[in-house]
Assembly symmetry: C2
Homo-oligomer: 240 residues x 2
């Protein structure tokens, strides 16, 4: 059986303006790979409702899971919950369970659960809350969409909450061979290898650093023994 598939939607002007360098995509990619869920596509859109709604609809329909990052805080530019509700035609309002979590959190801190903070208790009908051990305000899962915060520390904690609830597939395994030869020299044997081992993927990633150039050849697949065999063939072929 093939692995489940996933997409990610990163929401935020600050990424597209170059102000902030996204960290969540790289983190989620690694976690999904370990869990045997294949990340197939990522999109990054700005804090623009029609763009978010369109991307949520397209990606949740095309893949088994969609993970979103960003736009669930208390300020006016946090519109992700509204967009998810709109995409699925779900009712959105302050929910008692989410409100109770926030109330307890702010009571402990001696802070008021004001109108802005209460925005974070607006959860679409039918959604399951995602635990936020860092700052309380929950994420949520609606259908196959997992809605999480953009702040990396909170995003990572939410991924840790969600991941055990998902059925994974076979973890993707990989081995890397680093060669100090140009891609153009090794392209022919690599193509041959990819054809022989068509159940694996063979990637070639050139590097050039401090006057040294070469490539990392990465063989990926679900069967460790097959990867071993391919790597042995490759090393022999390249005389390594």
């Amino acid at each position: 059986m093939p692995n489940p598939t996933a997409a990610m939607l990163v929401i935020g002007d600050e990424i597209l303006s170059g102000r902030t360098r996204d960290a969540n995509m790289h983190y989620l990619a690694g976690e999904l790979t370990k869990h045997g869920i294949d990340l197939k596509e990522v999109r990054i859109v700005s804090d623009d409702a029609p763009a978010i709604v369109a991307a949520v609809r397209a990606l949740s329909a095309a893949y088994d899971h969609l993970f979103t990052s960003g736009g669930i805080g208390p300020t006016h530019d946090d519109i992700t919950a509204d967009c998810i509700a709109e995409a699925f035609d779900a009712h959105l309002d302050v929910r008692a369970d989410a409100r109770a979590i926030l109330q307890a959190h702010y009571d402990t801190q001696g802070l008021e659960l004001n109108e802005a903070r209460l925005r974070m208790a607006r959860i679409p009908e039918g959604a399951v809350l995602i635990d936020n051990p860092v700052s309380a305000a929950p994420g949520f899962t609606l259908g196959n969409v997992h809605v999480m915060a953009g702040v990396p520390m909170i995003f990572q904690a939410m991924v840790a909450s969600v991941m055990p609830t998902l059925t994974g597939g076979q973890p993707m395994l990989s081995q890397t061979l680093r060669v100090q030869r140009g891609e153009g020299e090794i392209a022919a044997p690599l193509r041959q290898l990819a054809e022989t081992y068509d159940d694996l993927t063979v990637g070639c990633y050139p590097f050039q650093k401090d006057g040294v150039f070469g490539a990392n050849i990465v063989i990926r697949g679900h069967d460790g023994a097959r990867i071993d065999a391919a790597m042995t063939d490759l090393a022999r072929e390249l005389g390594q």
Copy 2:
């Protein structure tokens, strides 16, 4: 007149598997912002021809410019040129101008322009070459699509070649106010500010580090005097 719009398409399994952290998106975002071109959307897809072709068609139709990164090297997994040609129904073959550039480069190095390397001279009919001062093999512009290498050093050099050929708009200006207060406390005045200055965008980006928490408030727009005015109002309102 509104600024020109742009999208970016990052092509590569290595990003989606979590092996490599993309660097080109953040770089391009910063360069476009300086140049007055608004980056509206980024997509990342794997080395999969139908996915690449579909994304190229969708993004080149929706925005003024599309920038692609990755998949133009000499190995079997480099299929970007093929996909661009297919997306625009353009003929693809080794082109004399690109071949001459590669021939001169490999002659200098005493290396053979073999079949694999010659793949990098395959350029769609009608495309304009993009100069590659790092490793010779050119990128190309076809219609509104700028096709560039994935290796960051080469990508950046190609961006430097392309950018002066594009008509920019008004550079996006921004000012940031860092406050050590929770988002929930400042959300109401921020919303008010965003409504008063509806020609600017007001973003709020929380941070939490070493026990200190707060937010960076970023005001963006094209008119420096307006941003000054909004920032003055904000600082007064927050008592900073």
